[in-house]
């Protein structure tokens, strides 16, 4: 090794040591001013542990998460649903999709340590993607966050071969930040993540509805409407679910409320018009349909067709 090389190595190590005293931003914020809503220490000891076979951290992590909320799956049953043999790993979107295939609402959390810890405090384990090494030499790895300790500045995980891995919070953040703070939870029917955003959550429910049918998600829509009564997505979602299940009274109520709270929503007015038309209440339906058409926008075509359908039905 030349002198120059040796010197740059020394400087490099020195810089690394300096940097190691620094704390990454989310950890610093969490430890510096922890939210009052968060207990100092939580550990979800009941989250089951599945040891992973080679490269199977995706199926293993998802199995732990799903079993905790009542879905009986094993890493072996999940493997064909999300493992990519030639990549020796699993993709993030397929983690979400596989959770859905097994009947759970798959919700991707906001990229915030704060949200992850609040989910833990609410009893929901969180699946995270870490890059254990470097951005230029990635070692991608899924693990399940099951606890934290603010006093000891620690994160507790079920991770690969370790049933209970305790990481310094800052180390966890370094490894997690390299996946852009990717985190997900799997929720059973009727349950909403503590930190869920209304629109993102309804989108997640609707994704499950598409592959598993409306019946499976109806209780979730009802719960969502209860949690976010004035939210347009929740109102439309609950209304559509009721409509699909032929509960026109409940559907009408949801759409009416939506049209009242959001008078510029073509979706609310259009669906209200259709629901009224189905009950042969054509005059009211016509009024709503006209309002929808007059609003224009990207859904105008749909509104026009609804109007035409109602006019045709009236002539019969």
């Amino acid at each position: 090794m030349s002198i120059l090389n040796a010197r740059s190595l020394v400087v490099g190590v020195f810089l690394l040591c300096l940097a190691s005293c620094a704390t990454p931003p989310q950890t610093r914020l969490m430890l510096g001013s922890p939210p009052a809503s968060l207990p100092r220490h939580t550990e979800l000891a009941k989250v089951p542990y599945f040891a992973q076979d080679a490269y199977q951290c995706g199926p293993a992590s998802l199995a732990m998460s799903l079993n905790t909320v009542g879905f009986s799956v094993t890493p072996e049953t999940l493997k064909p649903e999300l493992y990519l043999p030639d990549r020796h790993g699993s993709l993030q979107v397929e983690m979400l999709a596989a959770a859905r295939r097994n009947g759970a609402v798959a919700y991707q959390l906001a990229p915030e340590l704060n949200d992850v810890l609040h989910e833990i405090a609410a009893g929901t384990p969180v699946v995270v993607l870490q890059n254990l090494a470097f951005s230029w030499y990635p070692v991608w790895h899924y693990a399940v966050v099951i606890g934290y300790d603010l006093d000891r500045a620690e994160i507790i995980l079920r991770s690969g071969p370790e049933q209970r891995q305790v990481l310094p919070m800052r180390t966890f953040e370094y490894t997690w930040a390299r996946s852009n703070y990717w985190a997900m939870v799997a929720m059973p029917p009727g349950k909403i993540p503590e930190t869920a955003d209304a629109n993102s959550f309804i989108a997640a429910v609707s994704a499950l509805e598409k592959i598993s049918g409306t019946e499976r998600v109806q209780s979730t829509y009802i719960a969502a409407l209860k949690r976010w009564p004035g939210n347009l997505s929740a109102q439309i979602g609950a209304g559509n679910a009721a409509y699909q299940l032929h509960d026109l009274t409940r559907a009408e109520a949801a759409f009416r409320q939506a049209a009242h709270d959001h008078p510029d929503s073509v979706a609310a007015l259009n669906n209200l018009a259709q629901t009224l038309s189905d009950q042969a209440r054509y005059e009211e339906a016509l009024e709503a349909a006209h309002q929808a058409v007059n609003l224009g926008g990207p859904l105008a075509q749909t509104a026009q067709q609804t109007l035409a359908d109602i006019e045709r039905a009236m002539k019969k």
Partner: protein, 137 residues
């Protein structure tokens, strides 16, 4: 000859694609013209013909890529079906480059091994189960 053949194939595949799309399109409006929940949430043009075609193409690409990565044809179909349009769009064309969590620490070169060992100890990385960070905060 080959060129003619590939042109024929291209057109055939387009015709097949469009007819498959056409089969799917009028089904929804046969009963009622509801704005579905996904459409209402995304506020995009989801559900419109152009969006449907691009979603279809994304899915076709993901289906092919999954099989290329070693997933059986049947399973690949089921996996594509479970994706949302947005998800399919986000991974179409880059299945081989996206992060695939698998924890493969095998084949780490010696230099990288040493660097990782140091950074593990400093708490920037956590590759090896036997390391303990020196610095807790």
């Amino acid at each position: 000859m080959t060129q003619q053949y590939s042109r024929f194939m291209r057109w055939t595949s387009r015709v097949v694609m469009l007819s498959m799309l056409a089969m799917g399109l009028p089904m929804q409006s046969a009963f009622a013209v509801m704005v579905d929940t996904n459409q209402a949430v995304s506020h995009e043009l989801a559900g419109q013909d152009r969006a449907k075609i691009s979603a279809f193409l994304d899915r076709a690409d993901v289906l092919a890529q999954l099989q290329k990565q070693g997933v059986t044809a049947n399973e690949a179909k089921a996996r594509v079906y479970a994706l949302t349009d947005d998800e399919a769009h986000n991974i179409a064309g880059k299945l081989d480059k996206l992060p695939a969590g698998g924890d493969g620490v095998l084949g780490v070169l010696l230099t990288i091994f040493i660097v990782l060992l140091i950074t593990d100890i400093l708490g920037f990385t956590k590759v090896f189960p036997f390391t303990h960070s020196i610095n807790r905060r």
